[in-house]
Symmetry: C2
Subunit: 248 residues, 2 copies
């Protein structure tokens, strides 16, 4: 399993992903699920992936080849973010179709879902979710985040904290807590975590971090967050019956 | 959908449930999913249910009938909590078997899952999860809680807060937050919420509450909790790159 999320706030975007990939219990590996493509000063894209690893890698290879070959249609030539999503969606479908005969015979699921975030020139920065079928949706304005993979454990904190006016720092801290909560509740999601920060208008992905479980910042986040929740629960209103409790 | 949870701490047990029941989008109702059976001073049981409503009601009817009839085997005669689980598991299987022909034809899922908590005399208080197949497991000692239904959204807070030494008040507050997080993330889980508190050794379910969304205590819990998380995220360590951010 996988957990990736992206948050869009007014001042930028945060991308976060785990790195655990498995094919059965005996074949657990660490792969990056975050891919960045930027032409500094012109455009910047970030892709997050969840699903079949072979499909993902094939799509990334094709994206890179089209850029190298200066193809008519590539991430360097699209004029809107939705065109980039359409292009990636088509590649995704092509790759799945190419292997669909063998996939059906063996019962393997070839699907991959992507989150695409980016900005082109002076257009607005945007987040899109690209389905395995090649179609796509944008992040809802009121809850400006997208998730793929094992999404439920890490959703409540996003619902409570993320707003368009949230700072990039808070959005990044929130994404770390969301990843940490997921990893604690589901063994198939694992560190190291990747974090990338895009600042609106920068047209360049400036800040990327790889955080392993023993990274001092990550250890601090875990410890402080646990204490915040413990203290926070204790600070909620008392029930009437608490004064009546017997004390054994 | 449904969300029920039960927490066992040294000083007692907390039972919590939502009340939304639906059969399609047009048939949404409110039903209690919490059933209490006690012989004060002798024994006390609480049942939470998730699954087919007809199966649940049939099982509850049979439990009550056996008590009324003073049957040889009933919740009033079992000598251990696991025997109560076994008895309820058998009733659950019987009811499903009785309707299985028609159920298979119409494709309806007749399964119900129960959480059983209770205490008999001087024995230890205990929580058991009863599967639709009639077998059962106890709550793990290190994470002493059980959940049924839509369980993922409300799990991280339990994993971070609940320990055997947690107070009953904190366990109850934590269960409210867990329910609230689930309701915010999944529209099929809804208020009013039921909450019941069992104090170890009391052999009687003393405290039961029904909390609707406009209950002042519940409104307070939501507002204070939202602020706790917002402030908590902001209080986590700053990233190096935050000082470099341009301020648009």
């Amino acid at each position: 399993m996988t957990y990736c999320l992206a948050i869009k706030v007014n001042s930028g975007m945060v991308f976060a992903s785990d790195s655990r990939t498995n094919a059965g219990m005996d074949h657990i590996n660490t792969y990056s699920k975050m891919y960045a493509f930027d032409m500094p000063g012109e455009r910047c894209f970030v892709l997050l992936s969840a699903g079949n690893l072979a499909t993902t890698q094939a799509v990334i290879n094709l994206i890179e080849r089209d850029i190298e070959r200066k193809a008519k249609l590539s991430l360097n030539t699209v004029t809107h973010l939705f065109e980039a999503a359409d292009y990636i969606g088509n590649l995704n479908c092509e790759v799945q179709r190419h292997h669909s005969g063998a996939g059906q015979r063996s019962g393997v699921n070839l699907e991959t879902t992507f989150i695409l975030g980016g900005q082109i020139g002076t257009q607005a920065h945007e987040l899109l979710l690209i389905y395995p079928e090649g179609n796509y949706i944008s992040a809802p304005p009121s809850k400006p985040y997208l998730q793929i993979g094992e999404i439920k454990y890490g959703k409540p904190i996003l619902d409570r904290v993320v707003r368009p006016e949230t700072s990039l720092g808070d959005a990044a801290r929130c994404s770390l807590v969301s990843l940490d909560s997921t990893m604690r509740s589901n063994v198939s999601v694992g560190a190291p975590f990747e974090l990338a920060i895009y600042e609106t208008g920068s047209l360049h992905l400036e800040h990327r971090m790889l955080l392993d479980v023993d990274d001092p910042l990550y250890v601090d986040v875990q410890q402080i967050w646990n204490k915040t929740l413990m203290d926070g629960i204790n600070a909620l209103p008392q029930f009437d019956w608490e004064t009546e409790l017997h004390h054994h």
